[in-house]
């Protein structure tokens, strides 16, 4: 159980981020919650690629005979980080736009579209 601490941490971080998205009414905090979940999922992938005692999968001047960690999750995480960055930038732009029109970032007041 304690061996899987990184995976447990992932679940904890997702829980924290999800709490912000579900119960915080400030739009900026919702965006922050999404960012936290995103980091947690990235951590999940990276943790899945770890091998005990492994080194980075780069052959340049690497010590001989060491086992290397799995390279795929690192590539996936790189992709996921850039995607997360892009979504965060766009979400924040929308918040700016909402603030211009509504004059507030309280999600309870931003409900012109309903029913």
């Amino acid at each position: 159980m304690i061996e899987n601490l990184p995976f447990l941490m992932v679940a904890l971080f997702i829980a924290i981020g999800l709490y912000a998205v579900l119960f915080k009414t400030n739009l900026i905090k919702i965006v922050m919650g999404i960012s936290i979940i995103e980091s947690a999922v990235n951590l999940f992938l990276i943790a899945g690629g770890y091998i005990k005692g492994g080194i980075a999968p780069i052959y340049t001047s690497a010590p001989e005979g060491e086992s290397m960690v799995l390279p795929t999750p690192q590539a996936l995480t790189l992709t996921a980080i850039v995607i997360g960055l892009a979504t965060t930038a766009l979400l924040l732009s929308f918040v700016v736009l909402i603030y211009r029109h509504y004059g507030t970032v309280d999600s309870r007041k931003i409900r012109g579209l309903r029913e």
Binding site: Y59, L78, V82, R100, Y102, R114
Partner: protein, 169 residues
Amino acid sequence: MNLEGPMTKIVRVFSNAVFAFALIFGFYVVLHGHLTPGGGFQGGAIMASAVALLLIAYGADRIGKGLKKGTLSSMESLGLLGFILLAIAGIASAMNVVFGNFLLDNSLGIFSEVPPTGVNPGYLNTAGTLPWMSLFVGLEVLAGLSLIVFNMAGGLPKEVKSSRGGEVK
């Protein structure tokens, strides 16, 4: 923080000094992506942070005069076009496939050697299309991230007027 006007002289001098180093470091990271940790995205992000540093130090107006949004946008498209063309060019080569590494081991261009298998000190002139792709992606990320920061610093145009949202009637 006031993004419109320049910040104090201390900040400006310091960011001038750091700017060049950050750019060069970013370029180094891009160029050595196939040998050391790094690559197009990481290096591009470092270079873009250098641009963002200048933006904060001098304000959006002053930097905007030297570095036009249109130029950055063209740079971004150029990077992406280079990347996708390199990928598509694989069809025309002997590899006959999208994303084929056709520049490897063909004795024509630079970056064309194959390194010895296993641990080695690292040779820059290797890896075929990979460094080229790194360069193009670095260009795209540099321009793309700078554009995001520029747009956000510029703020919404005045034509977008505040309209109290409210009821759908």
